[in-house]
Structures are given as structure tokens and as C-alpha cells.
């Protein structure tokens, strides 16, 4: 497979992982808030709501992840060449900061104070950033497998 196409595929997989994980996390934070207010939350309702969010919310989150990753992953790749020992740390930070920056940008540009529900709390924000890190780490891992000499 040509290297550019392969990079694009890995980028897509990284976005997919971060978006799916972020969506599942967002749903669980939201349902926990409702549960705290006394709403019943049987497993079936939880699964159904998560599935609806995967259909309805994940495309929105994916756009933010793409916006962040477009800058963060090339930057992390470049820095990793300069500091090979710090490769995993760099990608972990890049993924997290990419999601944080994209959400901050959306909140600044859009009329509502906070676009994504889970982004309203520190725990939710850190969780979504961790999903960004997972996506970025997947990208780093796949790139390393295909170009082991670089590590």
C-alpha cells in the first residue's frame, strides 16, 4: 500500500477510535447525571442510548477530533523524530491536547457556553482528552509497525 494512503488509513482509524470512545464516555457521563437525579437506568436503556449516541453524536465529535488531529498528529510525528525516546508521551499529549483545543475552539465560536455535555466538568473533559490520547497512540503504534526503523 502506498505510504500516503496507509497514513491516511491510520489517521482514519485513530479518529474512529477516539470518536467511538469519546461517544461512549459522553453517554455514560450524561446517564450518570440523570441517574443521580433519580432516573432509572437499566442496562437495556444504557445500551440503547449509547447506540443512539454512536449514530447521532459521534459524527459531531469526529469532526472535532479530525480538526485537532490534523495539526496534532503531524506535530507529534515531527517531534518524535527529534526525541524518539519520548514518542509515546508525545502522542499521548498530542491526542489529549488536540481534543481539548478543538472543544475550546468550538465553545469560543458557537453561541452555547459548552458544546459537549461531558465537557462541562473536569472529569468529563479529562475523559474526552484521554479518548484523544487513545486515538493518537493507535496512530503512533500503527505507524511504528509499518515503519519500525523510525523508532
Amino acid at each position: 500500500m502506498p505510504s500516503k494512503l496507509r497514513t491516511l488509513l491510520y489517521f482514519f482509524l485513530a479518529v474512529l477510535l477516539a470518536s467511538v470512545m469519546g461517544t461512549v464516555l459522553q453517554t455514560q457521563f450524561n446517564l450518570a447525571n440523570l441517574q443521580a437525579l433519580g432516573a432509572p437506568m437499566p442496562l437495556g436503556v444504557r445500551v440503547q442510548t449509547t447506540c443512539l449516541d454512536l449514530l447521532g453524536f459521534s459524527p459531531t465529535f469526529a469532526i472535532l477530533v479530525i480538526l485537532g488531529f490534523i495539526f496534532a498528529l503531524p506535530a507529534a510525528s515531527l517531534l518524535a523524530r527529534l526525541w524518539p525516546m519520548g514518542r509515546w508521551l508525545l502522542f499521548t499529549l498530542a491526542g489529549a491536547l488536540a481534543v481539548l483545543a478543538a472543544m475550546a475552539l468550538a465553545n469560543a465560536l458557537l453561541p452555547m457556553p459548552t458544546l459537549i455535555g461531558a465537557n462541562r466538568t473536569l472529569a468529563g473533559t479529562v475523559g474526552l482528552m484521554a479518548c484523544g490520547s487513545l486515538g493518537a497512540l493507535l496512530f503512533a503504534g500503527l505507524m511504528r509497525r509499518s515503519s519500525p526503523a523510525q523508532s
Partner: protein
Amino acid sequence: MLNTSRALLLFGLLGSSLAHAMDYRIETVTEGLEHPWSLAFLPDGRMLVTERVGRLRIIEQDGSLNPQPVGGVPEGFVAAQAGLMEVLLDPAFASNQQLYLSYAYGTTQANNTRLSKARLVDGQLQDVQVLFTAQPAKSGAAHYGGRMAWLPDNTLVLTLGDGFDWREQAQNTSNHLGKIVRLNRDGSAPKDNPLVGQSGAAAEIYSLGHRNVQGIVYDNQLQRLYSHEHGPRGGDELNLIEPGNNYGWPLITYGIDYTGAQISPYTELPGLQQPLLHWTPSVAPSSLTIYRGALFPEWQGDLFASTLAERSVRRIRLQDGKLAGEDVLFEELEERIRDVRVGPDGALYLLTDSADGRLLRVVPSQ
């Protein structure tokens, strides 16, 4: 085929226009209002209009806008949805010149809705007094509610919002986010408010579980209090408000979040009130009135809700207090409508929401 379709479309449009033309005529009364929000009719035939940017304006009997804004308006917080909102005359305004203003106060980091009263004397507000400040102060500039109505016992209901980021607080009875509050004319909480005596509850609360309530009207004839509120994406609601009732936000809703995320898996839960109707997709209802006037006999007792997103006024037909259908009016204006009122002359008055907003008067075409 294309020509036939065009002809049918033209015929349909003409038919629709003719039907409208036969029913009513829309006149421009006043132009040059900056995001007008609320209209009140003074006993002498003049009108008061709030502009969200913080000005209170007088419209003279001939419709001309007094170039000098009313002085002494309390300074508010103006940003995004925040600013000066409703002006409401005291039931005894003719003798005491008192009026009530709702507005956002504070800063971007700490703000909420506030209610003040003042006397209007010679184009100036005097004796301005803060009556109520919604708690807690929160950040952001969204969801303030801000509409008011008098109940028959001369207590006042004031609608509030959840501040957008604090939707779960609409279920918390210890604060004012996402509530409708009922106040005495001096700002105190009436002793017969539904949560008075309940440990930790805010005594001003009249109903809870609201998102952003921007329409409220009391029907004196049927003794009913109606309100509507903005849903998120879908789920705008018309509610029949009764003291102490919980209207469910965010535990139940017919809307979803702007991101496409589910707000709640539920549209119904025990103990939570169902709306009389919900608008999905959203129309963004911005004010509510009930028609009791002489000019449009067929509109008697119907509710009228102005809308921002749909750029219309919804006529909600009621028969014996029950919903009997809806009509979408004034779409031909293609303008966001911020306020709808019934004037003392029986005409319907509209405020269009823009930087160059207008006051419009709807009268029968013949």
C-alpha cells in the same frame, strides 16, 4: 412538466397570499429598534419597548419613536442572549406609575436574571429597586427566561432559564436555575408558594424542571397559566403551569442536544408533567399571549406564540380549553419574531428581532 409545476406553485402561492390578504393586514408602526424584546401599552396610548442592548424606549401615540431613551434604566449584562428583557406595568400603573423590568446582570463569569421595579416619571425611571436576583450567579450568556405575568392575586410570575450548562440544576429545588418563580410586588416570596416550608427549597419557586422559558400568560377567563419553553434540538414545549409541578427537564424531553447527543432516554417518567404540545423540530418560541380582543372574533381565546427559528407566529387554537389545532401565521414576513401582544385596540402587535427591528400591527384587512 416543469411549467405545470411552476404554474401550480404560483397558483398555490397566490392562493395562500390571497387567503392571508383576506384575513389580515400588517402595518409597520415603528422602525429602528435594536433587538426589541418586549412591548407594553401605556394607559395614555403610548408604548414602551425594551431593546436587549439595555435601552427602554417610548413610542408615541402616532407611532414615532422618541429619540431619547428612558433614563435611569438599571445597568445590566449585555452579551449573546443576555440584556434587558421584559417591561411589565404594575396593575395599578395609572395611579402609581410603577413598572417592572427583567434583565441579565453581572459579568461573563458570574451572571443571572434580575428583577427590578421603578416609577416612570417624565421619561425617567425613578426609585429603582432590585426585587429579586436569581441564584446562583453562573458563567456564560445563555438561557435567562425573563418573561413575566400577573396572577389574579397581584403576585407576579417570572420565568427563568437553566443557564445552558446547568441543565441538571433545573431539578434542584435549592436554587432558581430552570424555574418559574412567583413573587409579591415587593419581591418577597408569597407564603403560599408551593415549596415554602420545604427544607432547603427556594421559597420563590412556583414550578421547576424548565429549560428556558420565554413565554408566559395567564388566562383570566379560564384561570389558567400557560407557558412555553425552548427545547434543545426539538422538544420546544407548551405547558399548563400549576404550582409545585415538575416539568421534567432534563429527565424527560422530546428534544436532543445540538451535538446530536441524547439529553435523556425518556420522554415520560412518573411524577413529571407532560407538555400540552411539543414542537419538534424546534420553532424557538419567544413569547406567548392570549387573544381577547374585538378585531378578530375568530381568534377569541386562542394562544399566540411568536417564534424565532420558524420566523412566524403560531396560533394555537383552543376550544373549551382544549387544543384544537395550530396555524402558522406571518411567515411571509420572513423575520424572527421576538414578541407578540394584544393591544388595547384588539390588534395584534409584533416585534421583529434584528438590529433594525420593527414594531408591527396586525389588523383585519377589511
